[in-house]
């Protein structure tokens, strides 16, 4: 698959008046790695950033035509140094199966970023060489950046009260 085909197939780039132009491509999960490989072949030498978003509270959000919005979204920022161009690949990840293939074999630099997304959102990156928590302690329960993660659930510790754990 070439990058041009990706753009035709699942990609779309929308322009909002008054805002700087940003290239966005929606890619389905099952063709995700192939699509990113195609971008790499098309001159995107670097994966600048990878992060996830939990859209739990935004049910009817706007995505491109033909794309079914899911709870999670993995956002990959690719950077082409030669063309001075960025493209943002957005992949929908369903809540029932929060997993996505790893990009490690395409861009080894996503190693820490995927670990961060796993740690904070609980999205499993299949094939990642060392998918462990990176920011939170190893025995932490839950994934803090999820929208349904209970913030402030740990009670204030007064002197006599038992500890949270």
């Amino acid at each position: 698959m070439t990058a041009a085909e990706v753009n035709v197939a699942g990609g779309s780039s929308s322009r909002v008046p008054g805002r700087p132009h940003q290239e966005v491509a929606f890619v389905a999960r099952d063709v995700y790695v192939g699509a990113v490989e195609a971008y790499r072949g098309a001159g995107f030498e670097m994966c600048a950033d990878l992060c996830a978003v939990d859209y739990l509270l935004l049910g009817d959000r706007h995505v491109a035509e033909g794309v079914v919005p899911e709870r999670f979204e993995v956002v990959v920022n690719l950077l082409s140094l030669s063309q001075r161009r960025r493209v943002r690949v957005r992949v929908q990840v369903p809540e029932s199966d929060p997993s996505i293939p790893t990009l490690f074999d395409v861009y080894p630099g996503v190693e820490a970023m995927e670990r961060e997304a796993f740690d904070l959102f609980g999205i499993v990156f299949d094939g990642h060489p060392d998918l462990t928590r990176i920011l939170m302690p190893e025995d932490w329960e839950g994934h803090p950046l999820r929208k349904d993660y209970g913030v402030g659930r740990v009670p204030v510790q007064f002197k006599e009260a038992p500890g949270p754990r």
Binding site: R19, M46, P108, V124, P129, V151
Partner: protein, 475 residues
């Protein structure tokens, strides 16, 4: 595909996290059941630590030995060359940090050593994690700058700048000319103070105490100017969506000129102190080498990427603010070693001062922030005479302003590399998701590559040359 998918509870090394695993655990290896199964169940996420060879899966070990940098197999080293069977008795795993002074904060490096040679390295981070991205979702865009400024505490103004640029991109507003130039002035001054701080700590790490004193002395001048302008030496909350918080103080041109005139000749003194010194050169030249391909593959940016010879500087390549209207050179290296990274930062100081002088000359008059009462508070004097102004003031600081739905990624060149901000707005006055792409966080991945095969004495120097700021790594 690794040999042990991490989603399975039987992934090796999961036990390493539950308290202190004894030697027996390593001897048993990961495949035994029984007691280990209990450990695994408690910590299904797996261990973060560097593990003994016996306890590491063959696939992971190959990757780690081939490149603790975790390049794909074969990318760096022929897998057949790797001594997977090497006995743990010959090697030793030690911790450097998290309290080691030369890790610049709470970075913990686990090193596998053969004698004095570093075989594998694994940075373990998270000791300074305070959930700032989560906090950012609870703060309005007005308050947001206060939060992000604490991430990279050596270049706080860059954090505020990237957050403000992202918020303004979503708002679709343009800030006045003077605000743009003030932002450039402050950003470049901050680059000077950040690089001076790096010169100081790097000198300290290599044993030059004088350099540390000199670096801090010069940085103090810049911080004094920041205090005069913003009220604070660090964590300024000065650059906000819509402009800057206050105009430059009277006589700022003189202050800035004094800083430029003082720092510039002192850079030549640093040259004499360090650049030509044989001991310094021996400790930096061809130490911690990284190639351009490795740097690109590992998403490394900033001085480390430029040290490999790739002239990539966002100020030049994808200009923001008015960097396309000023003259400056992008400094690049050749060998990608410690010395190149040192000279790049030293010369970037000179380029920053060059930019600052141009900004002083070209600073326009006018408003220092947007006069849009929906985004920025009205001037203080108006509040006394106008009820409407008082209402807007109250609204901006209690509810904040609403930002149209959308998502945007904005990146700037911080002293450490590409500092990005990904904002998702749901149309309310708080970001739905705020993600900061910290350059230190990504650059840390290059440590294992640079350290492999080097001496443990150089590990400190290599770590220093990456210039990690742990506040930004852990956020």
């Amino acid at each position: 595909m690794s040999d042990a998918p991490p989603s399975e509870p039987s992934s090796p090394g999961a036990g390493a996290s539950a308290g202190r695993p004894d030697e027996d655990f390593f001897a048993r290896g990961p495949e035994t059941g029984g007691e280990l199964a209990g450990l695994v169940a408690e910590t299904s996420e797996g261990g973060q630590e560097l593990r003994r060879r016996k306890a590491t899966g063959a696939g992971e070990l190959r990757r780690e030995v081939g490149a603790v940098l975790r390049l794909p197999e074969g990318h760096v080293v022929d897998p057949s060359d790797i001594d997977v069977e090497r006995s743990d008795d010959e090697t030793m795993i030690i911790n450097m940090g998290p309290q080691h002074p030369s890790t610049h904060g709470v970075l913990r490096l686990m090193l596998e050593l053969d004698g004095e040679t570093v075989l594998r390295t694994k940075p373990v981070i998270g000791y300074l994690h305070t959930g700032m991205e989560k906090t950012g979702e609870e703060l309005t865009y007005v308050q947001g700058a206060t939060n992000v400024t604490r991430m990279d505490y050596l270049s706080p103004l860059h954090n505020e700048l990237v957050f403000s640029l992202a918020a303004e991109a979503l708002l679709g507003v343009e800030v006045p000319e003077r605000a743009v130039w003030i932002r450039m002035l402050m950003a470049e001054l901050n680059r000077v103070s950040s690089h001076l701080m790096w010169m100081a700590t790097n000198g300290m790490d290599l044993g030059s105490t004088s350099m540390m004193i000199y670096g801090f002395r010069e940085r103090e001048m810049v911080l004094a100017f920041f205090e005069k302008t913003t009220g604070l030496r660090m964590n300024h909350n000065y650059i906000r969506p819509g402009g800057v918080a206050a105009d430059l103080p009277d006589g700022w041109e003189d202050d800035v000129t004094v800083i430029c005139d003082t720092v510039l000749p002192r850079l030549d003194e640093y040259d004499e102190l360090l650049t030509g010194q044989p001991l310094f050169r021996q400790r930096t030249e061809s130490i911690g080498k990284i190639s351009a391909e490795e740097a690109l593959a590992l998403s490394v940016t900033g001085p480390i990427l430029r040290s490999t010879g790739i002239p990539w500087d966002l100020r030049r390549a994808m200009p923001y603010l008015h960097y396309d209207q000023v003259d400056f050179d992008v400094v690049v290296g050749t060998y990608g070693d410690n010395f190149d990274r040192y000279s790049i930062r030293l010369n970037e100081l000179r380029e920053s001062i060059r930019i600052i002088r141009q900004v002083v000359e070209r600073m326009p008059t006018g408003d220092y922030r947007l006069q849009d009462k929906k985004v920025t508070p009205p001037p203080r004097a108006r509040i006394d005479e106008s009820m409407e102004a008082l209402i807007h003031h109250f609204k901006v600081f209690t509810e904040g302003f609403k930002v149209p739905e959308g998502e945007v990624y904005v990146a700037i060149e911080s002293p450490r590399g590409e500092l990005g901000c990904y904002l998702v707005s749901d149309g309310s006055s708080k970001p739905y998701r705020m993600h900061i792409r910290g350059p230190s966080f990504v650059n840390l991945q290059s440590l294992p590559v640079m350290m492999r095969g080097g001496l443990i004495a150089d590990a400190v120097a290599v770590c220093s040359s990456v210039d990690p700021v742990m506040g930004e790594v852990d956020r």
